[in-house]
Symmetry: C2
Subunit: 96 residues, 2 copies
């Protein structure tokens, strides 16, 4: 039993944190993710775009209290990818 490949989209600290959060809360806006992950805005913006481009999340832009607000939600593909990733990486953690 070799090591399963790790989805490169998810094998990144910030993107993994984002997806991990979204799996739990189902939906979240930019500011929430910013707060929970501790990332910079720039990095968060970039990584959200990559997750979107991968088809793992859906981004909806709207307004909240007159301010722009970006809302993120995992797609079914995103949820599935997370599950696959979790299963795969657990193989690597044996021996722990």
């Amino acid at each position: 039993m070799g090591f399963a490949p790790l989805d490169p989209v998810l094998h990144n600290q910030l993107r993994l944190a984002i997806v991990s959060l979204l799996v739990s809360v189902d939906q979240a806006d930019f500011t929430f993710l910013l707060d929970r992950t501790g990332a910079t805005r720039g990095n968060l913006s970039v990584q959200l775009s990559k997750l979107k481009e991968a088809g793992y999340l859906e981004i909806t832009k709207g307004y909240k209290n007159n301010y722009p607000s970006t809302t993120c939600k995992l797609t079914p593909a995103g949820i599935k990818a997370f599950e696959v990733y979790v299963k795969a990486i657990k193989e690597y953690l044996k021996g722990s």
Copy 2:
């Protein structure tokens, strides 16, 4: 409870696989790691060097059947780092 940072030395597919293997078998040579990880020689060589440079493993060069043989073994720091990494990444996998 935020997300703990993930040791960048270990947060790499090949290096993690190497360390994971070494935690189990205690000691292994280049060819064994090559076979088990499926990596290319070049990549394996580079990543072993990085693990060594990080102080996570000790490399001993010798001969086996007249051929050069590189033997790898985790240092205590390497073992500790793996444990810390495992604990840290498990936080990200909640919701699975």
